[in-house]
């Protein structure tokens, strides 16, 4: 059962990382245009080199 002593902290940490990432996406307006974002991925404008 010693395995629990590090597995539980790890699972809590991973959950926490997910939560923090989600809070970051909400704070930076990444859910404002779900429709557009799902289409923009099909746009091949900056496929060869990143947008300057």
């Amino acid at each position: 059962m010693e395995v629990l002593s590090y597995l539980i902290p790890i699972s809590l940490l991973l959950g926490g990382v997910g939560l923090v990432a989600f809070i970051y996406t909400v704070r930076t307006n990444q859910y404002d245009d779900p429709e557009g974002d799902s289409r923009r991925i099909l746009n091949d404008d900056w496929d060869d080199h990143p947008k300057p």
Binding site: S11, F22, D32, P34, G36, R39, R40, N43
Partner: protein
């Protein structure tokens, strides 16, 4: 060090060296303007790319970003860039674009409530998953110290989560209790609090069952329902806001000899306001200069334009058709007759206030029932076993299992699916209960002008005239922006007519166009001006007259063009067994002709606004559920009185505000489909209630008998919520 000593506005030090770069940067800093454009026709990734590239290529534009969800583009540009330039640019690229009024759009304001709900939902979702992991370990046989440890960790996650995520429920339940009412949130909060108290108690005594996972899952599912509900309404609200923002309230005013463009809100009584042809009167006033014709159809429903000359009073909302007019303002802003009429509507009793939403009427019986059941099992078990702990545990199990998790999702999941479906067909559901009310409709009342008809004229007697007459008429009509001329020119062109050689063509605002053809004077315009006054007497249709030399004037008769889909909508509604009525403020022959054309058996003409709403009230007292479709100010009272109302996007702001549903496109045919969709949506909602009840009927006896474990509660709750959500998605 130089950068510190000489702070520059441009970010890169190299720019300091580049001559003029700093000046440009400085200018940009002070002169940036936000322009919002509505792009109703964009729909794919290629559209996004083209629009953004087109806008960015315009000199002066700093950045352009398309939001496909809102079908909107936000442009940051210098003040030298005018919105109408961008609109023209996009139209050349093939996209319909309209300027939006940034003021009424409040672009910077984010959806605070939605974000708050999303955050709480996410936190409870993450907590639920983690607690559930620990709970699975307990259910699969963890014992003694391990089980207690898992329970404590669950508590450590669940308690802060419930404190944060449950806030909307605590607030709502508290405000209900303070008003001595009860709502769905009261049993929810009771269940949460009892579950937490009982579980902490159990954990402290090293007991077997803790309901932390159930409590967190409950909050997560309920928040999901709340968020869906909020999102549906937020989308509708922002689209409705956009419609108002489409009318940029600006007016050109002559002050101290100079013409200035002002926001309509800044106009004062006595101002001289210029109204261009095609423009809408921003104020009530008296014409001081210019001759024109005025379209009053939005206010009264009349289709025939009214002649306007100096001295005539005009009211806000009327549209100037031909010549430029100067108006001395006699009433501005809230004092205009337009606003006063719109305010009257607010006082009229609303059909929707009499309607209780299905969810509310269910909650009325459900809430006390659940609380009584839990109390009864608590007392029963306390008397039977004499053990407070057992009794409390069973009461908690009953509360959690009956908790209206699926009920909380039952309505929002269906309305989200149905609203989304109707939104794609161009209908905007503004009111939360509009779908339920729409499902009960058995009578539809249409307004004529602007609703069944598009408000644009259509030439009906082209074949009555010979080629020469048409060629002369076309030559005179071309180049004029009067709606009759535009329509005549389009019809003649479509018939393959080539314009005659007319010289000295001039337009006399308010009267018509004249010129010289083969040495003879020719005129196209009003009857009295052309010399057909006696012939025109008694004409019911809008007629433009053409005179060639001394020959008798010829009449070009026009009818109001049908809105696309109007005939389909009426036919389909009648086919579905719905009673259709036509009530209009226009003259009897015109209304009778339209009713005959569309096959509407019941019609009423020359109806005043009060007649319209009285007729609707009369229909309601016969037991009909009335849907009113209308667009004008004269319809607003009727729109409010009806059980549910629809207005087209071209309607006056006041009419759109008064209606529950707004038609975004110009096509009327979605109306019939909307009724069908609403009916199947309400059927789904009822099914969902039944599914939720079915789970309760099975699970509640188990809980009362004391056999419910946290595993049973979790299974019942999750499976009923998922079934309800899937049933909603099934909506066709």
């Amino acid at each position: 060090m130089t950068a510190v000593i000489r702070p520059s506005l441009s970010a890169c030090p190299a720019c300091v060296a580049a001559p003029g770069a700093q000046a440009i940067a400085e200018q940009g800093l002070h002169k940036d303007a936000h322009i919002a454009l509505s792009l109703p026709t964009i729909h794919c990734s290629a559209c996004i790319a083209t629009v953004e590239r087109t806008l960015a290529a315009m000199p002066g534009v700093k950045s352009a970003r398309v939001n496909l969800t809102l079908k909107r583009a936000t442009v940051e540009a210098d003040h030298s860039v005018m919105p109408d330039q961008l609109v023209k640019l996009l139209e050349r690229a093939g996209y319909e674009a309209h300027e939006l009024d940034a003021g009424s759009l409040s672009m910077t304001q984010n959806d605070r409530v939605g974000r708050d709900l999303l955050m709480r939902m996410a936190v409870s979702g993450f907590a639920m998953m983690n607690v559930m992991l620990l709970s699975v370990a307990v259910w699969s046989g963890a014992t003694d110290a391990t089980r207690d440890l898992f329970h404590w960790i669950s508590a450590a996650i669940a308690l802060p989560t419930l404190a944060f995520s449950g806030v909307p429920f605590y607030k709502s339940a508290w405000s209900a209790l303070r008003a001595r009412r009860s709502n769905m949130d009261v049993p929810i909060v009771t269940a949460l609090l009892l579950a937490v108290v009982a579980s902490v108690w159990e954990t402290a005594l090293s007991g077997h069952h803790a309901y932390f996972d159930a409590a967190v899952a409950l909050v997560f599912f309920l928040l999901t329902g709340r968020y869906l509900d909020h999102r549906t309404r937020a989308i509708a609200r922002s689209a409705a806001q956009e419609l108002s923002a489409l009318e940029v309230p600006r007016a050109t005013v002559r002050r101290d000899g100079a013409e200035v463009v002002l926001p309509a809100a800044d106009l004062r009584i006595g101002d001289l306001v210029l109204v261009r042809p095609g423009g809408r009167m921003p104020v009530d006033g008296v014409i001081t200069e210019g001759r024109s014709e005025i379209d009053r159809s939005l206010l009264t429903g009349e289709t025939l334009p009214v002649f306007a000359e100096p001295g005539r009073a005009v009211s806000a909302g009327e549209v100037n058709l031909t010549g430029p007019l100067t108006i001395r303002a006699t009433a501005v802003g809230r004092e205009t007759s337009l606003h006063r009429m719109a305010d009257l509507v607010a006082i009229a009793e609303s059909g929707r206030s009499r309607y209780t939403a299905l969810a509310d009427s269910t909650a009325k019986y459900y809430t006390p029932g659940v609380l009584l059941l839990a109390l009864a099992s608590f007392i029963g078990w306390y008397v039977y076993s004499g053990d407070m702990r057992t009794a409390l545990n069973i009461a908690v199990a009953v509360l959690i299992i009956t908790c209206p998790c699926a009920l909380g999702l039952a309505v929002p999941a269906v309305t989200t699916a149905a609203s989304g479906k109707l939104f794609r067909r161009g209908m905007l559901i503004k009111d939360a209960t509009a779908l339920e009310r729409l499902a009960r409709v058995d009578t539809v009342v249409f307004d004529k002008t602007g609703t069944l008809t598009a408000g644009t004229p259509e030439l009906i007697n082209l074949s009555d005239h010979d080629g020469t007459q048409l060629a002369v008429a076309l030559a005179l009509a071309e180049g004029s922006s009067h709606p009759l001329s535009v329509s005549l020119a389009a019809a003649a062109r479509a018939a393959g007519i080539v314009p005659a050689q007319v010289t000295d063509r001039t337009e006399v605002p308010g009267y018509g166009s004249e010129g010289v053809w083969q040495g003879q004077p020719v005129r196209l315009g009003r009857a009295s001006w052309v010399g057909a006054g006696d012939k025109a007497a008694g004409a019911t249709e809008t007629t433009a007259w053409l005179s060639i030399g001394d020959a008798a004037p010829r009449g070009f008769r026009f009818t109001d063009r049908l809105r696309p889909g109007a005939a389909d909508a009426v036919r389909q509604l009648m086919h579905n067994g719905i009673r259709v009525l036509l009530i209009s403020g226009d003259t009897t022959p015109v209304v009778a002709a339209l009713a005959k054309r569309l096959g509407i058996p019941e019609w009423q003409a020359e109806a005043l606004p009060a007649d319209k709403s009285a007729r609707i009230t009369a229909l309601q007292s016969e037991g009909c559920n009335v849907l009113m479709v209308g667009d004008g100010l004269n319809d607003t009272a009727a729109l409010t009185a009806a059980d549910v109302s629809i207005s087209p996007a071209s309607a006056l702001d006041a009419a759109r505000v008064a209606s529950d549903i707004v038609l975004l496109g110009s096509d009327l045919s979605p109306i019939a489909d909307a009724l069908t969709t609403a009916q199947s949506a309400v059927k789904r909602i009822r099914e969902n209630f039944n599914i939720a009840m079915f789970y309760n009927v099975i699970a509640v006896p188990i809980a009362i008998a004391g056999f419910a474990t946290p595993l049973v509660a979790a299974l019942a709750m999750s499976s009923s919520s998922i079934t309800v959500a899937l049933n909603a998605v099934r909506l066709k």
